[in-house]
Every structure is written in structure tokens, then in C-alpha cells.
Amino acid sequence: MRKKLNVTGAVCTAMLAVVLGTLGFASSALAHTGEYAKFDFCPSTKAEVQKCLYSVTTGGEVVLGNKKVPIVNAVTLQGGVAAPAESGAEEDISKFFEATNGITLSKTPQPLPGGLLGIVPPESSPPLVKALSKFFFENGLTGVNSTLELAKPASEIRVSQAHIGRKEGVALKMPVKVHLENPFLGKSCYLGSSTSPITFNLTSGETAPPAPNTKIEGSSGKIEFLEEGRILRLNENVLVDNAWSAPSPSGCGGILSFLVNPVISSMLGSTTAGHNTAILKNTISIATAVAVNNH
């Protein structure tokens, strides 16, 4: 009898755990439908959150010194946005809130052309040469992936819907670090850190970088209203910054980092301001928290 009671108790406990687990999941990820599904991980029920943002970067490039990393795998930025400040240094700029699933900026690896050896055949090379180069230099051992990661909490991100539209000022400020991944480099090879992040001050307007970089221009994108004005989508939005600096690589090569860090550093060349570029081609969707909660 005692044994039967114990079994029943265990079953009840398990069921309770499942129910509680489901409730817990439901509170962190509200399942929306249709166009609103992309805002599933927006902290829309948080009092300070006025809008939800979901941005997918599907193209562009990040140039670090003399290494160019094209963005070939989609990167997602999602979370909540506070009401913009009405005055002061952050006028028209909003604070950002972390996505409820913890993935505010997706850790999407981008292959570094030429891999560890940095050998890139010229564009005019025959396809066979390009394929062989890719096989030898971008394989599991010598191939290098570059991943943009948030260097600080999501609350350090700043967004300005007004600046995107006006093509002036900073549209998206984001502290990031670049994770270089390869069996030789180990798991802790980074440019930038939480204490010394790379700060992207991305604009949809024109940049004013130090030399040798020259000014480049972003784009607000093509505006489109969905769901009778409840969702704003900016297609073909381009955010740019080519005035940022990146610290020297650190943690590359594990215990041999004192040897490997300088090698990576020399491969990249100078990464001081004026030598780096970020061009992010995005589709940005914005809806108010109220609209998201109601759907």
C-alpha cells in the first residue's frame, strides 16, 4: 500500500512538474500567430516595453582590419524597446530589453573567407581553383568561423526608430565582440570583451570615419505597413558604421595564446578606428507591445 502511494505521489509530482513547466514556458514565450509570431520572444508584457523589434540581417559584411567577413547566414536581433527619451543626450533614443528566450542577438557563425590561412583566390579564378581553395583552407581544421556576440547585457543596446527614418544619428548602438572559432584557436578566441567591447554606432545615414576609411551611407529602407498599421516593416534597410575600433585578439590558441594572439593580430592588420567596417542589410519589423499582446 505504501509502495502504491509512493508511485501515485511520484506520478502526481511529475504531472505537476509538467504543468508548471508548461506554464513557465508560456510566460516566457507567448505564442502569437501570423505576422505577430516573430514577436514571440518580445518581453511585451514588461511595463517599460513600448514596442517590439525583430530584425533579421541577411547580408552585408564586417571588415576587421584587412579581413572581410561577408554575412551569409541570417543573424537575428530581437527584444523589447522602451519609449524614446524626450530630451537630453539620448533624445529620440530608446533603451532595449532582452528577448524572453535569452537570444537577443543570435550567435550565427559566418565563415571567414580563406579560413585560418587567409588565402583567398582572386574573383577571376577558375571555379576549380576556388573549390580547391575552399576545400583546403576552409575545412574543419583550417576553416574559421566568425560570430558576432553581444559583449554586454541587452540593456546596453540603444535603438532609435526616429533616427532610422531621418537618416541621421545613431540608429542602433550595440556592444559586441567577435568570436573566432577553429580547433586551433580554441573556444575563447575573441576580439572585444565585456570590459572592452567593440561598439557599433550604426546609422542609416552617412558615416564620418577617420582615415583611411571614407564615408559610406546606409538606408532607411522601404517602408511598409502590415496588419492595418500595427506592424511596420522596413525592407532593404542598411545600417552602417566604419568608425569603430576593435581591441587586439585575446584567448586565441588556449595555453599558447601568448604565441597565437600575435599571429592572429598580424593576420588582421590594424584594427584601430578607420580600418574596420560594418554593413548590415536588414529587414526590421516593429510593433507596439499592446498590439503584440492583443494578438
Binding site: A162, I164, G165, I223, L226, T288, A291
Partner: protein, 207 residues
């Protein structure tokens, strides 16, 4: 002077006369403001309210029931000029059930204007246009964002109906465009042209 030199001289004179005539012809083609067929001297003030006007960002049309304007006109160096000094906009609504217009205002007035001719038709071109629109609404994706409409706009002047019409084809004809969020937007507007001062109730034409 020998015969060859005389012929060359006369041909040169003829060419100069032809060029002069051509220049005079294109200069006289510049449209000017006229009242009862007479060229306006000095300045005149035109006021009116749009018969119909709407502004469309793809997916969101904004209309104002009261779209008034005040334009000071004059002729200068053979061309009609103007200055839009007032543009009060009231009772504005949107095509969205969740977006309202919290405020809308013309900024950086006066806006200069000039007359021009495209394919024999007279047009008025408004320059340095800047309108700020602040949308609101708990579910409006544009809520709380000040949208700036900037650029220039050309409208076709109809001397019979005494109106100026702005739409996609008139903006295209005058190579003008209005921009919001980095993109061209659509503006539809029909404005009556009626003098308010010295030439009140006189027929206004542009040619």
C-alpha cells in the same frame, strides 16, 4: 570688303539674329502669374483650402479635412515666383484603424516656389517642403515617431478651373519628389488658386 568676306559677315549676322530670336522665344515661354490676362506687377496673396488632399506612405494614408495655405506670388525676371508662408493642417486622420494623427505641421516656412513649363503645360514647383507628422495610437507601429516628409513637389496648374493639382504624374513631370523614411511617398492634392488682396475675384492664370 570682297564678296566672300561680305557673305561670311552676313551669314554670321543671320546666325546671331536667329540665336537671339531663339533665346527670346524660350525666355518668353517662362510662365508668369496673370490676372484677367494681365501680367501681375508687385505681389499678391493667394489663399485657399485643399479640395482634396492625402499623403500616402505605403500602407498608411493620411488625410486632412482642413488643409489651408497662404501663398505670396510675384513675377521676377520674367518668371512667376512664390512663397508659401502658411500651411495650417487640421482634422487629420489615417487609413489605419489604430493610428491617429497627434500633430501635423509644416516646418521651416516660408517655402519658395516657382512656375515652370513642362510639355507646354504650366506647373508650380514647391521647394524645401518639410512637414512633420506625429502619429499616435496604442497599437500603431508608428506611434510616438515623428515622421518628416521632405523634398519638393510640382503641381499642374489648370487655368480653366483655377486649381493646382499635385499627384504622382505631376511630381514625375516636374522631376520632384517627397520623401519620408528615405522613400518616395505619394501626395494627392487639388488646390484652388484665388487671389485675396488687390486682385480679389479676378481670374488668375499662368502662361
Amino acid at each position: 570688303m570682297n564678296k566672300k568676306a561680305t557673305r561670311t559677315f552676313l551669314l554670321g549676322m543671320l546666325a546671331a539674329l536667329c540665336l537671339g530670336a531663339a533665346f527670346t522665344g524660350s525666355a518668353s515661354a517662362s510662365p508668369v502669374w496673370k490676372f484677367e490676362g494681365k501680367e501681375l506687377t508687385g505681389t499678391e496673396t493667394i489663399v485657399g483650402a485643399a479640395i482634396d488632399s492625402s499623403l500616402t506612405i505605403p500602407g498608411l494614408t493620411t488625410k486632412c479635412e482642413d488643409f489651408l495655405y497662404k501663398l505670396t506670388i510675384s513675377n521676377s525676371a520674367g518668371t512667376g515666383k512664390g512663397e508659401l508662408t502658411e500651411l495650417p493642417l487640421f482634422n487629420c486622420t489615417t487609413s489605419s484603424p489604430v493610428c491617429t494623427v497627434k500633430s501635423i505641421a509644416a516646418e521651416k516656412l516660408p517655402w519658395p516656389a516657382h512656375l515652370t513649363t513642362v510639355s507646354a503645360s504650366p506647373y508650380i514647383v514647391m521647394e524645401s517642403v518639410k512637414v512633420g507628422i506625429l502619429y499616435a495610437g496604442a497599437e500603431c507601429a508608428f506611434g510616438g515617431v515623428l515622421v518628416n516628409v521632405t523634398g519638393s513637389a510640382g503641381g499642374l496648374i489648370n487655368n480653366t478651373t483655377e486649381t493646382a493639382t499635385f499627384n504622382a504624374s505631376t511630381l514625375s513631370a516636374t522631376k520632384t519628389k517627397l520623401i519620408a523614411f528615405g522613400e518616395s511617398i505619394e501626395w494627392l492634392g487639388v488646390f484652388p488658386t484665388e487671389a485675396f488682396e488687390w486682385n480679389r475675384e479676378k481670374a488668375l492664370s499662368v502662361s
